[in-house]
């Protein structure tokens, strides 16, 4: 096989491997995780070490620096030392990555605990829904407001929580929002009617915010039952209600 045929074969192999870089073993190579880092660093380094030791040993032998026996011994021992150093370096990299991952996990668990405590203790209902309006999470206050259990709400459309006459308005709003990007409900606060499980309607104040998770829109709605006259927009009445609650307690 001529040298340029060998080069062509390597090019063909490389081209085929890189034709789908986000799949299979190539996805490991392109991964931003530890496996990608190790593959990108270890594989070429290991090959380079073996080739370099072979060529250097050959060069010294041809130059008359040492004989055939010394060449083999030198090649073997150099390869062992350098490959051991490479493995040690890989272990150090893994240890650093593991420490960083553990720190991130601890921070995440702390944040998650705070968030869970806040949402569970909240007197306002907190409901998250995806861009189709399907409920993903609810907190205990939301289940109390609407009278449903969490299992009954998750996976169903938010329109279940509003009277029939408001449902088509929500669909129109979402269609308008996704086609134009113009915000109506999102970011603002408004008074709407809610629908309990027993069919009773009640006034509630709604604030909706939007965020993106993994490229998908996620809507978070905070609902406050204002049937007792306490709402977001009534700080004075809220203070009165708090005061009376404290005094009566």
């Amino acid at each position: 096989m001529a040298p340029h045929t060998i080069a062509g074969m390597f090019a063909l192999s490389a081209g085929l491997l890189c034709a789908r870089p986000a799949r299979g073993a190539m996805a490991w190579l392109a991964s931003a995780g530890p496996q990608g880092l190790l593959l990108r660093q270890l594989l070429p380094s290991g090959i380079a070490i073996l080739l370099a030791t072979a060529f250097i040993a050959e060069f010294g032998h041809k130059g008359g620096v040492y004989g055939a026996a010394h060449r083999a011994a030198l090649e073997l021992s150099t390869a062992i030392v350098l490959l051991s150093a490479l493995v040690l370096w890989a272990a150090a990299v893994l240890a650093r990555l593991d420490a960083a991952r553990a720190a991130v996990t601890r921070a995440y668990e702390k944040t998650a605990a705070y968030l869970k405590a806040s949402t569970e203790a909240s007197v306002d209902g907190i409901i998250t829904a995806d861009e189709r309006g399907m409920i993903e999470t609810v907190n205990p206050a939301a289940t109390r407001h609407f009278g449903f259990t969490a299992q009954e709400m998750i996976g169903r459309n938010v329109s279940m929580l509003m009277p029939e006459q408001n449902r088509s308005r929500l669909d129109r709003y979402l269609q308008h929002y996704f086609s134009t990007g113009a915000r109506g409900t999102s970011g603002g606060r408004r008074e709407v009617r809610g629908l309990r499980k027993d069919g009773a309607q009640f006034p509630l104040e709604l604030a909706v915010s939007e965020t993106r998770v993994d490229g998908h829109r996620l809507f978070t709605g905070i609902v406050r039952d204002i049937s007792s006259g306490v709402g977001f927009s009534c700080p004075a009445s809220w203070q009165r209600a708090m005061k009376s609650a404290c005094c009566s307690g």
């Binding site: 096989m1 040298p3 340029h4 081209g15 890189c18 870089p21 190539m26 072979a54």
Partner: protein
């Protein structure tokens, strides 16, 4: 709270490098094929062998490289038209695999199928293989590469792709070891 499924965590810079490697490989293969075939068409030895001290590349080998390069380019990730039609990429992969498999058959059965000099008349008998016939290692490589091209969307394709380089790697290692264990310089 429920969590959304995670998207693959890929290094975008590395992905970009791999896509560039793919594009570069296509360019190299097409350039190699066109250069050598031009050499065969015009009878220019320097183009057939690229370097002054190298053996000439066989015409079938150059043709297989050319077809493989074009097919690989058509099968690139964002080429929706070719990926939808699939006709030309399949034909290209089949040609590359056929060149490899038929040559392998010739080696294994010692039967001349007449494909060695189909493109150009080759009378150079200074090689171990019959005139015009690509080496056994090249035939194995093209068989694997053709199969990888035909099955590019399957999981086995990357293993076949990696195996494509093995015959060339073995050949290179054997050449290196021979040179090591001989005083004189051997032909590649």
């Amino acid at each position: 709270m429920t969590a959304s499924p995670h998207s693959p965590n890929l290094d975008q810079r590395m992905l970009s490098i791999l896509r560039n490697v793919h594009a570069g490989a296509c360019v190299v293969l097409v350039a190699l094929g066109v250069t050598v075939l031009t050499g065969w068409a015009g009878g220019v030895e320097l183009l057939k062998s690229i370097g002054p001290n190298f053996d000439a590349m066989r015409a079938n080998t150059a043709f297989a490289f050319l077809v493989a390069g074009i097919t690989l380019w058509l099968l690139r990730e964002n080429n929706d038209r070719a990926l939808k039609s699939q006709r030309f990429p399949r034909v290209g992969g089949a040609i590359v695999a056929a060149i490899g498999m038929l040559t392998l058959c010739e080696y294994l059965t010692r039967w001349n199928l007449g494909i060695d000099q189909l493109l150009f008349l080759d009378v150079d008998s200074s090689f171990k293989s019959p005139p015009g016939r690509e080496t056994f290692n090249a035939a194995v490589g093209f068989t694997l590469a053709g199969a990888a091209l035909l099955m590019l969307e399957t999981r086995i394709a990357q293993w076949l792709a990696a195996a494509t380089a093995l015959p060339a790697l073995c050949q290179q290692s054997v050449t290196f070891m021979r040179r090591r264990h001989s005083k004189g310089r051997l032909r590649l």
